[in-house]
Subunit: 446 residues, 2 copies
C-alpha cells in the first residue's frame, strides 16, 4: 500500500500498455521518475517469450517462464497494475479505452506486442495453432501429446502415419526450435512410453516458403543449422509456400506444383502482425500492421505517445533499410530510450533518436545444437548452445524461475526426461473431435 | 516396444480403471505376474491428490504434483496404457465400455475414485467449484487471483468486501487446508502486490455443517486445529449447513435461523461420491454412491471384478462399523491385497479378506501448523507439520517432482513467495462474467 491513491494525483499520469519486455523495461526504467504509472495488461503475467516453445514441447511448465507482473513491480511504488484489455486509443482525448473502463493519460506507451497471422487465411487457424501465449503453448502441447496417445491405439496404419507426422510451418527461429524439440521428444523422451508404436518413426517436417531457413543468418551458419536439423531427423522443405491447411494436413505450392503432406498436427511458426490496438490509432501502419514510428519512437504528431517493441515499425537508419526484427533485444533497448525520452520531455529537453545496437543473435536447434552470431563471430554446435543456454537463463526474470529452469534442464539433459508431459482435462475421443481442436477446449483447465 | 502386441495374447487380460493410488499400486504390484494389463484413465497423468489444494492456492504448479502415467509404468512390460474414459461395465459379457471403444477382460479392477457432489444442488456447482482434478484446482486458483485483481479496482466498498471474502465449505482436511492456505496467501504472499487494497483485510470463512471441523480427530487435536486456524485468521463456523449458494455468496441454515455471507468466491470442500461408473454395475451402492464390496474386495457374485479406493465402500470389521475413509492410504493398502487376491485366484488359492492398518493421519493447517495422529500419539504445531511435509514428500511419485517440490517449498517458506500466481488466458471484464465462472472457460489454456 506504499502509494495509496491520491497521494500522487498531481504527478503526470503515464499509461503503459503491455507487460512484455518493452512495457516492463520502460516501467522499471522510470522507477525513480516523478510520474504515476498505470501498467495495463490483459494477462497477469510477464512471459519469457524466447522459451515459450519449450512449454509447447513439454520441456518446461508455464510457471517456469512466466512471472506475475505484480510481483515484478511490487517494489516500485509509482506503479499500479491493471488487469484489463486495451481496445483503442482516443488520441485527441488522451484516453485509453479498455474492456472494463478507460484511463486518461498525460503520456502513453504502447508496447502491446504482436499477434500471429495466417496470411489472411484465418480458416487455417484451428488446424495450425500459433505460438504467442501460454494458452497457445499449452494448446500445442495438448495436440502433440494427444497425437501420440491416438497413434498408440490407431489400427489403420495410414491414420497412424498421419498421427505421427508433424508439420511445422515457418523456417524462422520459432519454427526451427519447435521442429528440433519435436524431433528430440519423439526419438528420446517418449521412446519408452509407448508399446504399440515406435515413436522414432515420427516424421517432423519443417516447411519454409522462402529459399532458406533462418534467413537472417549468414550462409555458413545456415548451412550448419541445416546439418544439425538433419542430424536430429528434421526434414526441411524450402521454397514451398503453404497454400492450404485443414484437418488432414497441409498443401504446399511453389514451382514443383502442389503437394500434400498428410499430418494430424500442424504447428504455425510463420507470420506475425502488430497487435490490433495499433490499427485503432488511425495512423499509418506497415504491411505487418506495425506502427510507423518517428526516429525518437514517438507517434507522428503525438509526442505524448510512444510505440515500442513488436508493435513498432522502425526502419530509420537500419543497415539494410529493413525494419528491426520483433525480438526481445530490440524491445528492451527501445524501452530504455523511450523512458529517457519521456524524462527529457518532462524536463523540457529535446528527445534523442533510437539507435539499435545488435548484441548478436542465436537460434537453438536441439540438445547441444545451435547457431550464434555475435558481431562477426560465428558459432555453432555445443559451444553456441551453451552460450544460448547461458544468455537465456541469465535473462530469465525472477531468480526462482532461473534456478528452477536450470535444474529442469540439467535434469532433462541427463535423462531426456520431460517433466511437463501433462495432458490437462479429460481425453476426448478422437472420433468426436478434430485433432484436439475446439472440442477439447471445454475440457481443459485454467 | 518391449512387449509388442500379440506376444502375450494367451495371458489373462487384466483391465484396470483408474491411474490413482489404487490403480497404479495394483498395477505395479503385478509387475512380475503372468498377465497382460491394460490401464485405462481419462487423464494421462497420475495426480498426487493430497497436495492438490496447493495448486489451487498457487503454491505449486500442476507439473509438480502430477506425473504422466505412461512414464510411471514405462519400465513395466506387461502394461499398456489407454487414454480413454470408462463409461460402463457389462458384467455378463466381461466387457468395459469406454467412450472410444471397449475392452474384453478376464479380470477387472475398478479404482475410478470419487467425484464431488453438491448434495443434490448441482445448481451450486458453478458458484462453488470443488477440488478433485488439476482442472478444478486451476479453476479455483483463477477465481481466487481474479477476485483480488477486481478488488484492487473496485470503487464500491461493498463490492470490494464481497471480493475479499472467501467462503470454504466443508470442515474436512481439504476445507481446512484450503482455508489455511487462502488466509496465508492474503496476509503474506499478496500483501506487497496490491496498492489500493490491503489484502490483510481478506476474510476467510470456513463453514462446517457438523458440530466440529476435522471430526475424524480426537477432541484435543481438534482444539489445537481450531486454535491454529484462529492464529492465521480463519473464521470457523460450525453447526451451520449451507442451504444456498449463488453468485452473491452462501446462505447458512441451522438453529440460529438463516444467515447470508456475501462473498464472490465460494470454494467447495464438502461432499464426495463414488464415480458414476459404480452405478453402471447395477449392484448395491451406499448412500455416497460407493460400491459395497465383499471382505476380499471383490464384487458380490463376481470374483473376477474387484473394487478399491474411493469407489469402494468397505465397512467390514472397521472399528466403528463406519466405512473406511476415502484416503490414499486405504487405496494403497487395498491395491496390494487386490493384486495378491488376483494372483491367488490365478493359482487357484483362496482369497484373503482386507484388513486396514491405520498408519496414522495428519492435516496441515498452514506454515508450520498441523495436527497428526499416529496410533495413540497426538502431535500438533511445527513438529506435526514437519512430519506432514516429510511423509508427503516421500510419498510423492517421481524423484524429480519430489526434489522440485522440496525446493519450491523451501523457497516459499523463506520468502512467502508463491511461484504459481499465474492467471492463464486473458482477463475477462468483471462486468461481463460472474466471478470468473463459465465465461472464463473459453479463455483458458490447455
Amino acid at each position: 500500500m506504499s502509494s495509496a491513491p491520491g497521494t500522487a494525483q498531481d504527478l503526470p499520469h503515464v499509461v503503459v500498455v503491455g507487460g512484455g519486455f518493452g512495457g516492463l523495461g520502460f516501467t522499471r526504467r522510470l522507477a525513480r521518475a516523478p510520474v504515476r504509472i498505470t501498467l495495463v495488461d490483459r494477462r497477469n503475467h510477464h512471459l519469457f517469450q524466447p522459451l515459450l516453445y519449450q512449454v509447447a514441447a513439454a520441456g518446461l511448465s508455464p510457471g517456469e517462464i512466466a512471472e506475475p507482473i505484480r510481483s515484478i513491480v511490487a517494489g516500485q511504488d509509482n506503479v499500479q497494475v491493471r488487469l484489463d484489455e486495451a481496445l483503442s486509443v482516443d488520441l485527441p482525448g488522451r484516453t485509453l479505452h479498455m474492456r472494463d473502463g478507460s484511463l486518461r493519460y498525460d503520456h502513453l506507451l504502447l508496447a502491446a506486442g504482436a499477434t500471429h497471422t495466417w496470411f489472411g487465411h484465418d480458416e487455417w487457424a484451428p488446424h495450425a495453432p500459433g505460438l504467442k501465449t501460454l494458452d497457445d503453448a499449452l494448446e500445442m502441447r495438448q495436440q502433440i501429446l494427444l497425437a501420440y496417445e491416438r497413434a498408440e491405439w490407431a489400427d489403420d496404419p495410414e491414420e497412424r502415419r498421419r498421427l505421427l507426422t508433424f508439420v511445422v510451418v515457418g523456417g524462422g527461429p520459432t519454427g526451427v526450435e519447435l521442429a528440433g524439440a519435436l524431433s528430440e521428444i519423439a526419438r528420446h523422451t517418449l521412446s519408452r512410453d509407448f508399446r504399440r508404436i515406435d515413436t522414432a518413426m515420427t516424421r517432423v517436417v519443417l516447411v519454409e516458403a522462402g529459399p532458406t531457413v533462418l534467413g537472417a543468418y549468414p550462409e555458413r551458419l545456415r548451412a550448419h543449422a541445416l546439418r544439425q536439423l538433419a542430424e536430429i531427423g528434421v526434414e526441411v522443405v524450402t521454397g514451398r509456400p503453404v497454400v492450404g491447411v485443414d484437418a488432414e494436413g497441409v498443401l504446399l505450392g511453389g514451382e514443383g506444383g502442389t503437394e500434400r503432406i498428410a499430418a494430424r498436427t500442424v504447428l504455425w511458426g510463420a507470420g506475425v502482425a502488430g497487435a490490433p490496438l495499433g490499427a485503432s490509432l488511425g495512423v499509418p501502419l506497415d504491411r505487418a500492421g506495425r506502427v510507423l514510428v518517428e526516429p525518437d519512437l514517438s507517434l507522428p504528431g503525438h509526442p505524448e505517445v510512444q510505440v515500442i517493441g513488436d508493435l513498432a515499425c522502425f526502419a530509420h537508419d537500419t543497415a539494410d533499410g529493413r525494419p528491426l526484427p520483433g525480438v526481445a533485444q530490440v524491445a528492451m533497448q527501445m524501452a530504455v530510450l523511450a523512458a529517457d525520452n519521456l524524462r527529457a520531455r518532462l524536463d523540457g529537453r529535446p528527445t534523442a533518436t533510437f539507435r539499435y545496437r545488435d548484441l548478436g543473435s542465436m537460434a537453438t536447434i536441439g540438445r547441444s545444437r545451435a547457431i550464434a552470431l555475435i558481431g562477426r563471430v560465428q558459432m555453432h554446435g555445443t559451444l553456441a548452445w551453451m552460450m544460448w543456454l547461458t544468455v537465456h537463463l541469465v535473462q530469465l526474470i525472477g531468480f526462482r524461475n532461473r534456478l528452477a529452469v536450470l535444474v529442469q534442464w540439467a535434469w532433462s539433459y541427463l535423462t531426456w526426461e520431460r517433466s511437463s508431459r501433462l495432458i490437462r482435462g479429460e481425453a476426448t475421443p478422437p472420433g468426436l473431435q478434430d485433432r484436439g481442436g475446439p472440442e477439447l477446449h471445454e475440457h481443459l483447465p485454467r
